[in-house]
């Protein structure tokens, strides 16, 4: 069975990749997207504003959306705030030299 595979792409599989170049094919915006050193041809028709260097989420050869850098950092900022709050709580409970994060 040439080219076939047993277990293959999951249907909600959307992988983040970096747009390397773009061009038009039959009037449709296409692009080369890089995934850590391996690249694939992807249809960019629904992310018309992307430029090389931007990141997109790709599903079955199709870019679903551009990745928002600011939003991407949000959860980590939240965790940092949480850690700072933990540390404050520890200080105010007057424990000697404690490490707030416990991780």
């Amino acid at each position: 069975m040439r080219g076939g595979k047993d277990r293959s792409t999951l249907m909600c599989l959307g992988i983040p990749g970096r747009v390397v170049e773009t061009w038009l094919e039959h009037g449709i915006l296409m692009g080369k997207v890089d995934f850590d050193g391996v690249s694939k041809r992807v249809c960019l028709a629904h992310v018309p504003a992307v430029k090389p260097g931007d990141y997109v989420v790709v599903h079955v050869g199709f870019a679903l959306s551009q990745i928002d850098e600011v939003e991407a950092k949000r959860v980590f900022a939240f965790l940092e705030r949480m850690e700072q709050l933990d540390e404050l709580a520890v200080e105010s409970a007057d424990e000697p030299g404690g490490d707030g994060s416990g991780v």
């Binding site: 080219g3 047993d6 293959s8 992988i15 995934f35 850590d36 050193g37 391996v38 690249s39 041809r41």
Partner: protein, 360 residues
């Protein structure tokens, strides 16, 4: 009976057409018939390519002298190669065949010595392709220090053979007193891999799936006998070694767990994987644990010798990325578990069915 009907000799029927071998640019059924065309193929392609004393004799068998290794045991292995495509980044079916057989001997602690090669050719295979494969095999034999001493060629009709299949068998010698075995693993032993996993399978898939790589991702096919020699010199206490080909690291570790009746516990973060291979695996929905390797080995070693083994491997060109990836445990016998990068632990199951067909 008309007098102008040409008389046909038996010699003609058996293919004594005097046209030279090089006049044909493709393999014909006659090349496998045992007649003139076959002889042409042997004398003009195989013999010059492999050129050695045993082969030159063209006997039905090769008789080899084991006197220099009188006090050793004989190791013997065989494999068939049906990889598609036959030429891929980093190698070809011939190179793969030589390395694969050499490695099966090497991981048993044997010094590989002699190889045989049986070819099944599809009618219509370009002679240029066959020449390329055979030349590649000769180079691989030289690099691995083995000699191809006997062989066979058969040709099947067009459509019945998919270009080229190769079966190689290999003979090597294991010094007396050395006995590596899959059943020798003990709780506490460390599991070491010689480098990045998944390279070969992904190199093959890249051709099939039209993936491009920024830096060409090549198969890692390589002969490991020199590495295993260095490893056994540094650590004679190595319990066993395996080359994780079809089914990848997972299959090899399951074999060890079952044979030794122990558990295997891995740490995902410790397993070396090239970024492009990871990227390709994410894209294709594959797990590197199950992807074939052709120039890597996994070894089990007593804990006290782990550091020395790692140092010896990392000093060798084929072991620069060697790493300890887990340990043998006394729990969940026969099973392989893995602690994920995130911290949770899961069972690594045996691959059911063929994840990547025609991979080696």
């Amino acid at each position: 009976m008309a007098s102008d009907v040409p008389r046909v000799s038996v010699a003609d029927l058996l293919g004594t057409c005097p046209a030279p071998f090089t006049q044909y640019d493709r393999v014909l059924l006659g090349h496998g018939s045992g007649g003139r065309l076959s002889a042409d193929l042997i004398h003009r392609l195989f013999l010059p390519a492999f050129d050695n004393e045993a082969l030159r004799r063209l006997d039905d068998q090769a008789v080899c002298d084991l006197a220099p290794h009188a006090d050793a045991r004989v190791a013997f292995t065989t494999d068939s190669y049906v990889v598609q495509p036959i030429f891929f980044p980093g190698g070809d079916i011939g190179r793969l065949a030589v390395h694969g057989t050499v490695n099966d001997l090497a991981v048993g602690g044997a010094t590989p010595l002699f190889l045989s090669a049986a070819f099944i050719l599809e009618e219509g295979l370009p002679i240029a392709d066959l020449t390329r494969v055979v030349t590649s095999m000769r180079e691989a034999c030289d690099a691995a220090g083995v000699v191809l001493v006997t062989g066979d060629t058969k040709v099947v009709d067009r459509g019945k053979g998919d270009q080229l299949f190769i079966t190689t068998s290999g003979v090597g010698v294991v010094p007396r007193g050395r006995s590596l075995s899959a059943s020798a693993c003990r709780p506490g032993d460390r599991i070491v891999v010689s480098g990045t996993i998944g390279d070969h399978g992904i190199a093959i898939m890249s051709v099939r799936e039209g993936l491009e790589f920024e830096t060409t991702l090549e198969s890692d096919t390589a002969p490991l006998a020199d590495l295993t020699r260095a490893m056994l010199e540094a650590c004679p206490g190595i319990r066993c070694m395996r080359d994780p080909t079809r089914g990848g690291l997972s299959s090899a570790l399951h074999e060890l767990a079952a044979a030794s009746n122990v558990g295997v516990r891995l740490s995902e973060a410790a397993i070396p994987v090239r970024p492009e291979v990871r990227g390709a695996c994410e894209l294709l929905g594959l797990d590197p644990l199950y992807v074939a390797n052709e120039g890597k080995l996994v070894a089990v070693v007593p804990p006290a010798e782990a550091d020395a083994l790692l140092a010896a491997m990392q000093a060798h060109p084929l072991g620069v990325n060697a790493a300890v990836i887990g340990e043998i445990v006394d729990e969940h016998r026969g099973m392989v578990t893995m602690r994920s990068v995130v911290g949770g632990t899961r069972v690594v199951t045996m691959l059911a069915g063929e994840q990547l067909p025609r991979i080696c």
